[in-house]
Symmetry: C2
Subunit: 238 residues, 2 copies
């Protein structure tokens, strides 16, 4: 949504151009993400998106062809953004235990701050992943995440601090599960059992608990006592 504006104001490179297709596309995508994240695919209204855009409904169909096409584009964009941020983490510089702790804390915090991404994934799962099928490259965009976990895991195993039985995919699954659930289900869970876990201190505490959960799962029994997975501060690049 930042980039959408820039192209319109400053005319720069190509001389005077009032038209800026890229900005229009980006604008539509941003508005559409908000709308779909808020109301789902069937619930999201094209007219509503058009109204909140600086352009008309016509453009949506011009660029994305279809309601489904627009939705798919939004989904792809959301994944791309997220994995891009994740790639900024430099885990190789840290020793395994600290790196894993940082990864868990980062993911937890990241998902918290990107609710609309989580909601897009929720909605996509309601639709049984049909739209992910149709965009082949999404898998390619995401797979590096597993690689990061795998190398981290290998380093820890080699150092003797991580258990040999741990599987990279399962570990990634665990980190994703807690970080995702924390955002996706806060409404039902909070409604039923109270919001205690979703106050600010509650979330801070829960975040460190998640790191603890992950580490206790992975660590060799011996090493369980001596580790300081306590500082969750400043892990997001922003």
């Amino acid at each position: 949504m930042g980039s959408a504006r820039s192209g319109t104001e400053e005319v720069a490179h190509t001389g005077t151009r009032k038209r800026d297709p890229e900005a229009v596309r980006a604008d539509i995508l941003a508005v559409a993400e908000a709308e779909f994240a808020a109301n789902g695919l069937s619930g999201g209204r094209i007219d509503e998106i058009a109204a909140k855009t600086r352009t008309s409904k016509r453009m949506i169909y011009y660029y994305f062809g279809d309601k489904n096409g627009l939705y798919r584009a939004v989904l792809e964009e959301a994944y791309r953004k997220v994995r891009l941020e994740e790639a900024a983490l430099r885990l190789d510089d840290l020793e395994p235990v600290e790196a894993l702790c940082r990864l868990a804390a980062f993911t937890f915090e990241h998902h918290r701050r990107n609710e609309s991404f989580i909601r897009m994934v929720m909605i996509e799962n309601v639709h049984k992943g049909t739209f992910l099928d149709q965009s082949a490259d999404i898998a390619a965009v995401n797979r590096p995440a597993i690689e990061r976990v795998a190398t981290l895991l290998d380093r820890g195993k080699a150092a003797g601090v991580f258990r040999q039985e741990i599987d990279a995919l399962t570990l990634h699954w665990l980190i994703s599960a807690v970080s995702y659930f924390n955002v996706s289900n806060r409404h039902t869970f909070g409604r039923i059992f109270g919001d205690r876990l979703w106050t600010e201190p509650g979330q801070a505490r829960l975040g460190t608990e998640c790191s603890e959960i992950v580490l206790r799962y992975v660590l060799t029994d011996v090493a369980l006592s001596d580790c300081k997975w306590s500082s969750p501060g400043a892990m997001a690049p922003e």
Copy 2:
């Protein structure tokens, strides 16, 4: 869907009655659950539900007033069913470690087998829990779940096998998170990283891993080595 049929066929108690409001209600609810779970609230079609019911659309509005009313009724019913099954677990007879292991394994398995319940919760969360607000008793139906965890936890703490710092709500949150995520996100996760975790052996393995995750989180460091959380067989009452 089993109970819906019974009232219609066997006429039993009240003499000959062709009319069976309760059966009609139950029939509608069962069909509606399938429809909503499959397509969401906005995506679910009242006409579709009516068509698959033995009665007409008129009845839906007669009994539930509204599309939203129907949805709310389905949601309430889903929660009620689930918590009823959960109550069948008798954890007090087991020693703490085994009881916790059983609880985790049961929840994991239970959520797996009740996909449409999970999907209803997913959808409710997409709607930010608005419908849970309107039905006051749902919270009351669910809260006992926490009580069970709390007493189990206390017993373990007293016995010295569980860490004192563990919070009941957080523990329940963890068990829910992994069990829920396993069902809710299998499509996106599987699409991106492969279905390995969702083959039959993969799921069996993942289930025991979840028990291990939970136990390692809770157990006193000392006790970490000696426990046999290995038998996941026969924990569902069915």
